[in-house]
């Protein structure tokens, strides 16, 4: 039944394999690979966010700190240290995880709405750091980043090579998140989301579970940001700003909170919309994003995938 959501049964597997097949074929039938690669980076970002909000019940309003922070570190490692792309990416992910650990220790002291405000404030602080630090290029950010050679062997300059590298990482992340959510650890996270006092009374060290979830989520968000540098050749202040944190929330909400496919669908929708609007609507893009945000919260809280699941459930009951 819940083929896009919780358990992955046969229909679910078929749907995912079909989606993967489409992604593999897409660049050969005229879809611009850089666009899909970019959407995949944001899909990883949104999945990391969903791991935290959808499965643990923690709303981080500062996830751009990890995404953008990792992007800066990766860009710097590529440009200044001439590392290979996979090492630079690992460096970015490591930095994001470390930042996540520091932020997490502070933020999990409060719950709910306060958690959101604390993460927002911490991320804002970090964006000041990146604005003023000497290696980040201030308002301009780091641009013209060379992709380099994967493992020192395979050049990623070609868009197709890069695309399949990003796709492979995306599939890996997807399977990892699937594994995390269905592991005993993931079940504890859900228990915390549903009823935290109960989880505490059952003897779980809730804070440690939450912290680990936060660090994992930060690391994955960082992975999305690092890959984005490879795809678009740049890391900018835009990536660490609070607007970016808001965007990832929108992607997850629009696609469907707490579902597997939701963040991916949401990321493709929002990135696609932004690409479409950027030439046509200019500054109105923010307004349109805001309107979608409001509509989503007022009338479309389950998101695309959530609504689809609910519709399936209703049909099954009949």
């Amino acid at each position: 039944m819940n083929w896009l959501g919780q358990g992955v049964d046969r229909t679910g597997k078929i749907a995912w394999i079909a989606a993967l097949a489409i992604l593999v074929v897409a660049p050969f039938v005229g879809v611009y690979p850089i666009f899909i690669a970019q959407a995949l980076c944001f899909a990883i970002f949104a999945m990391s966010f969903n791991l935290l909000l959808g499965y643990t019940g923690l709303l981080s309003f500062g996830h751009a700190a990890f995404f953008g922070g990792a992007a800066y570190i990766t860009a710097w490692l590529l440009q200044e240290k001439h590392l290979t792309p996979e090492l630079a990416t690992l460096g970015g992910v490591g930095a994001a995880a470390a930042t996540g650990l520091v932020f997490g220790v502070v933020a999990i002291r409060r719950q709910g709405i306060y958690f959101a405000m604390v993460t927002l404030a911490l991320a804002y602080m970090l964006s000041f750091f990146f604005l003023q630090a000497s290696f980040t290029g201030g308002e301009n950010g780091l641009q013209g980043i060379e992709r380099g050679k994967l493992l020192g062997l395979i050049p990623l300059d070609g868009d197709l090579a890069l695309y399949f590298f990003v796709l492979a990482v995306f599939v890996g992340v997807f399977l990892l998140v699937l594994r995390i959510v269905h592991s005993p650890y993931g079940q504890v996270l859900k228990a915390i989301r549903e009823n935290e006092p109960r989880a505490i009374s059952l003897g779980y060290n809730v804070d440690r579970y939450k912290l680990l979830a936060f660090v994992l989520s930060a690391a994955l968000a960082g992975l999305g940001g690092s890959l984005k540098v490879l795809v678009l050749h740049l890391a900018t202040l835009q990536d660490v700003r609070w607007e970016q944190s808001g965007e990832v929330i929108l992607m997850t909400l629009l696609g469907g909170l707490g579902t597997f496919a939701g963040p991916v669908v949401g990321a493709f929708t929002v990135v696609g919309l932004q690409n479409y609007l950027s030439d046509r609507a200019g500054a109105w893009t923010t307004v349109i994003i805001g309107v979608i945000f409001v509509l989503c919260v007022v009338a479309f809280r389950k998101g695309f995938v959530g609504e689809l699941l609910a519709w399936q459930k209703r049909r099954a009951r009949k």
């Binding site: 933020a107 306060y114 959101a116 405000m117 804002y124 750091f129 923010t286 805001g290 309107v291 979608i292």
Partner: protein
Amino acid sequence: MTEIFGVPIQALFGQLMLGLVNGSFYAMLSLGLAVIFGLLGVVNFAHGAMYMLGAYVAWLGLDGIDVLGTHVQFNFWVALIVGPLVVGLVGVGVEKLLLKRLYKLDPLYGLLLTFGLALIVQGVFLQYYGSSGQSYDTPEALTGATNLGFMILPNYRGFVVAASLVICFGTWFLIERTRLGSLLRAGTENPALVQAFGVNVPLMVTLTYAGGAALAGLAGVLAAPVIQVTPLMGSNLIIVVFAVVVIGGMGSIIGSILTGLVLGLVEGLTRVFYPEASNVVVFFIMAIVLMIRPAGLFGKEK
């Protein structure tokens, strides 16, 4: 010239005064946030946008705008009334049309909704007025400065601090010492029971949101002459105010006022002794307070 820790005393007091001005805005905004959160359970992300809206009403009023075919122009003193009124009306609309639908849900949705609203308002103003700052002339009666002996106080800054203190303590008095306030506090505790006593709770909720919004609008009008009026002025401030709210805890009115003022002063001091950290010192304090007293300085653990 006298110096304290190698800093000329004039500069020190000048920065402290500036800090106090900023602190006044923190206090007014966090007060509004606390009042709204108390009764509605909504963290109003749009608070920054409403502050910005207030400043723009003042700025547009001074320039003169056409509303429904008539040319409207008003000075600072009129703006002090028109600004909060306009923003308050916007607040009524937001509450009646949108927020009302969310009360039964997780409070996170209120935050997300108002976040979307903030994006819309900010985007529209960016579209029409661009991101560059507009300056607003200080009202004539408050130009110039007074020599206090130990420092030279620009009159308008003194006025802002005094006005915000009056407004803050007025709000405190209204909530803690009047019948209306006691109904409001009762509504925070148990809305169903208050309703059963014949109080129109939905109206009270609407007016509370509008009141909090109007407070932000008033802060915006007061801010117009001391800062650059830009569409982004609110979003930058609201995050600092969130940190202030986390530090103070949203439980107490006096708490949010004091925390706001003190953090403004601390920021001013930092600007004197270690300017690089002045933008982030509030967030550092927030982290420290969270480690020592997670519920905030004036908050109660639930």
